[in-house]
Subunit: 569 residues, 2 copies
């Protein structure tokens, strides 16, 4: 490819609407252009990169017995009615009607389509287990698209679906998929992607793992234990609950005029009573119901809504409309509470605690000296607290680390959620009809490309790993008035072009412009044909990561390149 | 691939809802399953075939300098407002709103997206010419989806867009693309695809060619001249207008009570006046206007609406609402006509004709003996007649042939329709702003796969050309009670698997079932491991098209296969 012909303008200025490295470099380097909010056109360099990523994914899916198929982007509403998700999924599912008035959705995930296909094509136990996958466009009407290809509305995804005749077989295959994912990320040059235990969310099912790249651009919080290797998404992260041992104490009712928040209560006690000694109440509404849930938790912790959702069995939201609930908001406490129709939960952070302060369920009053076992006697405690800085690992007791992470892949053990609701069965050996058990496995292709930049860049641009680089070799030709080096550069371009993907900067631009553009394109190996070296029959070869930089005889270039490729591929 | 694991049921019965070979075999052979009207899931064999077709297309697009990009499936309404097509295209353009209320469309073609991208990325003449292409999902809300993958609503298409600084350069590149298309169809095994001159329809622009496979499944009518090679879509087909020389005659007004149609008029004259001696009137409404158009044409011809559309400059429809038009419908004729606000056209089939019969613009009366040059004196004649059986070639005068054809590709010289309406400019050498000139080039991938079946099948299934076959070798293992031949079959499967894509029928089914399935999968080379031959250390090798059928020693199989591949690839 001649750089003069490559479609895409490159810019020196940092784009005003981008703040994370992948977004900045993809705009500056002519990789992507926004068409609408969260919707992008991919320019040639990105398309070259995503094709390579897709090919790696395809090879690894085929290797574990995957059969590639293609499901539609536009799906009939009926299928989503069958699974129940037409109603249960929010407005990220784009719904519309076609010219005949039939209800349709844009596929944001394809469990329904996979079951629709598999239920007519795998009627005998002999076909099981099997896995089908596709690499296809998806649309998710995200309310907050952001960060270039990190969070978009339209994206290319590899999604795979496996079908099994027993939970054991699903677990066996789940492990095989897990290992394929590790190979995929390693081959794409991001072995630093880690797996974390995760919440299966709207997908249903029990066991789920997410593959995360830890980086500042991430929206997820990842909890890791540097000591024992424990890794989890914040949504399901566990930690050790350290009981603060204090003696029993007497309950006292204290007038606290105007005090409504924990901060105000701490200030009221002039800092002598820390939040660790206070009980706070958080109140939630349960989706699609009139249920109200009160959670009592130690005041230095927050409620993890994902954990609470699993306990409650439905989505929860902080209560905002108090009109129907007869509670003393701002002064809620577990002692002598009349919860009315509200459900009350006690978090493990306050289990068996003595000498706690809390609201007195009466405006302007609090209690001190409340002892859980003596005064409240909950039937049980639940685990709904979010890990905080300083929390200890539930496995080994060492301090946990909190990081930001971007999810680039996920795998789920779905169980029979879709096969059962959609009436998929097979005939078993003994002639009986049984319901298959399902797993699903996703990777966002464009997001993975962006994550590779997050993991591999310097201040000037991406440093593409060899296996996914848009080109492998970038030749800069720096002629001056003394000498035209373009013939040497073109000769190398022709010679190397048979074996490698080569881009030649044939524009005659100055060194500053050529190097800046080369940095933005991030090609792993660079050959600089400059006048001084050329006069000695030499060129400079370097790697984009600057680990190699040598001047070599022009005749030796092919051998030298082969050596470098062997090292970095 | 072991056939026991291949997803997809195969059937012996002809599906009730299919009538053309590709649709029948794709359903019987487990290639496709319908998800909704005109929307299909592709099963593994089809996906393997379309991937190969896509790779051939990609190679040929890259070879002529194409740069692969990816445009969105969901496009903002704004872009289609800019081009004017949001309003001008009918309900095959699927329109909807997203969660924020923004208007969107599903991309049915991507001229708007291509200009959107190119106008920000190609601002200097130095970047021109260039061509960008994508292979991507499209959605066209067809009112009449039919024939399996022949006419669907959702489909994968390669669409390419070239940009030029002069009409000459567009024409030069158009020719290059034309040749690339011929290579693509030849490499996909359908060199019988022919190009025909076509109408550019809603795409705008002047010159257009369609690539057609002539077959009964086609919806288009193709006009060809077996003598001189003239080829055209019916929509723009020309033919020689043979004047029927007759002497001048006297006009007579004849009472024709109750006569409204040409058939009735022929009957009224007791067959003594043929339709060739009659003038018929056809009345059209012009889309989005109150214009009404009357076309006078010889009564044995029909008006070609595509031709009339180009003359009128807008879509035309047969007039159905007569309430606003003060004409004597059923008795319309060119003599003493008061057309009011209607526009009147005369087709060349009646040019200079003498002694013609026509309506008298009065219920129950006709004229005979009308002479065009004497009585009507039209300013000009136009060419809007459809070719009919017996029409002669305009180039060589020999009889034209009418065939059915399926369009598998098309190329258009668009001119500045989109670049101008969407305000795309570049800076020319002299510093002035100019509007680029555009071409566009499409191929339907799934439809091409179906067309390959239409061109290559027998009564039992598809005969896939080697380059696009889902697998290259199909091994049948026919054990019986005397001998288990599976070890021999597996050994061949392993040996050949390194070099070819091989499917092994490992199900132990009887010969009838195995051969029927092999015919449906249409793999070009078949190896049958049967007991009788195996006892002699031999197997049978044949090709799906039955041109080769030999018994060979097992040790010679790799050499024999290589020979056959060389012959048929």
């Amino acid at each position: 490819m001649l750089l003069s012909q490559l479609l895409g303008e490159r810019y020196r200025e940092k784009p005003s609407d981008a703040s994370i490295p992948s977004h900045i470099f993809m705009l500056k380097g002519g990789y992507i252009r926004q068409v609408a909010n969260g919707i992008f056109s991919l320019l040639p360099p990105t398309k070259r990169i995503t094709r390579k990523i897709e090919e790696i994914i395809r090879q690894e899916m085929d290797r574990i017995g995957g059969q590639e198929v293609l499901f539609p982007v536009v799906l009939p509403r009926d299928l989503w009615d069958e699974s129940g998700r037409y109603d249960s999924v929010g407005s990220e599912l784009l719904r519309f009607t076609d010219r005949s008035g039939a209800g349709c959705v844009l596929g944001m995930t394809h469990e329904e389509a996979a079951v629709h296909l598999a239920r007519s094509e795998a009627k005998s136990y002999q076909k099981y287990p099997f896995m089908i996958y596709q690499i296809q466009t998806k649309f998710r009407d995200e309310p907050r698209a952001r960060g270039g290809l990190i969070r978009v509305r339209e994206f290319t995804m590899k999604d795979a679906y496996s079908f099994h005749t027993s939970q054991e077989d699903l677990e066996r295959y789940y492990k095989i998929c897990f290992e394929a994912y590790e190979r995929i990320f390693a081959r794409c040059g991001v072995p630093e992607v880690i797996s974390v235990t995760s919440d299966s969310g709207m997908m249903g099912g029990a066991v789920a793992d997410e593959f995360m790249l830890l980086c500042d651009a991430g929206e997820d919080t990842i909890v890791t234990c540097p000591h024992c290797g424990y890794r989890s998404n914040m949504e399901v992260a566990e930690f050790e609950h350290e009981a603060i041992e204090r003696p029993e104490s007497e309950i006292q009712k204290v007038a606290t005029p105007g005090v409504k928040t924990i901060d105000e209560l701490v200030a009221f006690f002039e800092g002598k009573v820390p939040p660790q000694q206070m009980i706070k109440a958080t109140v939630f509404a349960v989706e699609n119901s009139d249920r109200v849930v009160i959670v009592f938790i130690r005041a230095d912790y927050e409620v993890n809504e994902a954990k609470l959702r699993r306990i409650v069995g439905a989505n929860v939201f902080p209560l905002t409309d108090y009109s129907d609930v007869d509670l003393a908001f701002g002064s809620l406490g577990p002692y002598q509470l009349n919860p009315g129709k509200c459900e009350v939960y006690y978090d493990e952070t306050i289990a068996h605690a003595n000498d706690m302060s809390c609201g007195a369920n009466e405006d302007g009053y609090h209690y001190t000296g409340v002892c859980m076992d003596r005064d409240i006697k909950p039937e049980k405690y639940i685990d709904v607290a979010k890990v905080i800085t300083g929390s200890k690992c539930a496995k080994c007791g060492q301090e946990l680390k909190l990081s930001r992470g971007v999810e680039v892949g996920n795998i789920f053990q779905l169980g029979t959620k879709y096969t059962e609701s959609m009436g998929m069965t097979y005939t078993d050996k003994d002639g009986t009809q049984k319901t298959p058990i399902m797993g699903c496995y996703g990777i966002g292709v464009g997001r993975l490309a962006a994550c590779i930049i997050e993991a591999h860049h310097d201040e000037n641009g991406p440093i593409w790993p060899y296996a996914v680089a848009p080109w492998q070799i970038h030749i800069c030709a720096l002629s001056n008035k003394k000498m035209d080096v373009m013939p040497i550069a073109k000769d190398l371009y022709d010679k190397l072009g048979g074996q490698y993907e080569v881009v030649l900067d044939d524009r005659g631009a100055n060194a500053g412009v050529q190097f800046a553009d080369a940095d933005l394109l991030g090609v792993p190996i660079r050959i600089v044909v400059g006048v001084k070296n050329a006069q000695n029959g030499q060129v400079e070869i370097s790697t984009r990561d600057k680990s190699i930089q040598e001047v070599v005889d022009i005749a030796d270039v092919p051998v030298k390149i082969a050596e470098i490729v062997e090292k970095i591929k």
